[in-house]
Symmetry: C2
Subunit: 326 residues, 2 copies
């Protein structure tokens, strides 16, 4: 069980994240032992645990911080995230996840379907056992609904060359930012903050999540396959067009459009050409501007929070992850 080394800089949080991992382990009991093993491996394969970290930091702002409850809800959120990854890998037919074989490539789609379902349910079980209010559970299920609606919406957009920046932003808001928003909001709310404060926390999470996903999509164009643990540009071949490509198309579609119309039949050389064109047409640098805007927005809102050690950690963490190069 190894946490990402980035957490050394946040010793209290690091301990709480370790407790969160233990709670996740304790919650997973499958009769099917090989699958249990694979799920545990995936949990330990170095996910960054960002969502639980934000949830834990925000749980310091209310009058009723209860460490056991906070870590249980953190575990629930990370299990939810893991469930969506397992199901995403089915949809994307992904071979690798966090540098390991994905559950679907190890055990097939069938096991991956039920393993993801099991984690979804375990997440709700933890929430039902530890959350203090129905309101939290309502927030939680409403967010999850948005997330899944976002995933289904995204599929609708596959191979849509006319996807606008607004469409993209809406899609990542559901797919990624919503869960960051939930993590922050529920962390605050369950520690006893006002509803208004929790909403503000949610806004911060939303901005962080937007920036995070945009950064992730930029990295597809700036990193090589080994470092990321997933095939570069695989998404393009599968019809998922992200911000750098959309911005490049917006700038000049003449050469990109005929390539994209080949859909799944893109050769290696053609994929490489797309990669080059996205850079040359300024898609990457313009996407970086978007990421910066959301990052600045998050940092500005964080600055307005009560001046505590956790507020400073929120700012530091947000700056760190949103300036990552890999």
């Amino acid at each position: 069980m190894e946490l990402h080394p980035m957490w050394h800089a946040y010793p209290t949080l690091e301990t709480e994240l370790e407790e969160t991992l233990v709670l996740m382990e304790d919650a997973i009991h499958l009769k099917n032992k090989p699958v249990e093993q694979a799920v545990l491996q995936m949990i330990h394969a170095g996910g960054k645990m960002l969502r639980p970290a934000y949830q834990l930091l925000f749980s310091s702002f209310g009058p009723e911080k209860d460490r056991k409850k906070a870590t249980a809800i953190a575990a629930a959120i990370e299990m939810l995230h893991t469930a969506t990854l397992i199901h995403d890998d089915i949809v994307d037919e992904a071979e690798l996840r966090r540098g390991l074989s994905s559950i679907r490539s190890q055990f097939g789609n069938s096991v991956a379907v039920y393993a993801g379902d099991y984690l979804f349910v375990s997440c709700f079980k933890l929430m039902a056992n530890y959350a203090s209010s129905m309101k939290s559970l309502q927030m939680h299920s409403k967010s999850m609904e948005s997330i899944l609606n976002g995933e289904l919406g995204q599929m609708d957009n596959r191979f849509n060359i006319d996807l606008s920046v607004a469409d993209y932003l809406e899609a990542i808001s559901g797919k990624t930012a919503e869960l960051f928003a939930l993590s922050c909001a529920i962390g605050a709310y369950e520690s006893g903050t006002s509803r208004k404060f929790a909403e503000q926390a949610g806004k911060i999470g939303l901005a962080i999540g937007m920036a995070f996903q945009i950064m992730d999509d930029i990295l597809d164009y700036t990193q090589d396959q080994q470092k990321l643990g997933k095939p570069v540009l695989e998404d393009v071949k599968q019809g998922v067009y992200s911000l750098p490509l959309i911005l490049a198309l917006e700038s000049d579609a003449t050469r990109l459009r005929p390539l994209l119309e080949k859909r799944g039949n893109l050769s290696q050389a053609e994929q490489h050409l797309i990669f080059e064109l996205v850079h040359d047409l300024g898609g990457v640098t313009r996407a970086q501007d978007f990421a910066k805007e959301y990052t600045d927005q998050a940092l500005k809102l964080i600055k307005k929070l009560p001046a505590t050690a956790e507020r400073d950690q929120l700012a530091q963490l947000t700056e760190t992850i949103l300036s990552r190069q890999s």
Copy 2:
């Protein structure tokens, strides 16, 4: 929107089930309209709505029956059931469901994964919005966990020729009976009965669910494909061995074992031979004895409930569905 004609015999319940269907419709809002359409079609394609019916009948036993709440929880339970069917069809690679194309065969596995997830989440959202107590949500998520653990366990048992009757009973308890048990228990509990009464309701549901699944498995050997809307003996080819086959193997494995060892490579003629052997070796009649035992157990427990109109309906419904020939 057509309810199964069996409900004409229960006019109050019929109205409540119609309201339940409307609530399910209202809860499903997908941006992806073709998928929304398919999910709605599946809901209207004549599922029997047995689980919500039991939930609704048991909700009459407490002092606080609230019709809006009862139908909302009924809708949540049926959505959960629908979610598991959509995911089961991925796992079983099923072409048909309720006589229609399954979601996966219409839209592919990807859509089916997220559509099932969406229904899972909608179920939790309804529960969180309408249930009065965390205790109910805890019951709910604990049952769901058992159900999924059961599904994953069953996969482990595929092609296991040495599957015992006890293994089978444990598997169907998780796969089917648990959700009937939950429906009955949560119906009672949310209407304000004592916890002890709710537990008793759960026991009745468990017995009904066991009998129901055994009947279902018997029908694979006594009905033709058209009437059931799914391929006869497809399960055997996929390595899922049910009670009639297990009992036939127990009685004499000499001829069955070599056939089953062919696994997925069974010809039509060999499948037919298995069918004959299961009958000749008494597998079907002995399985019928099991179904009868669980049915009698359920009816005996129902008889002990307070003498109300709903108790009589419970008894009538249970006798009807457990003596079905199709």
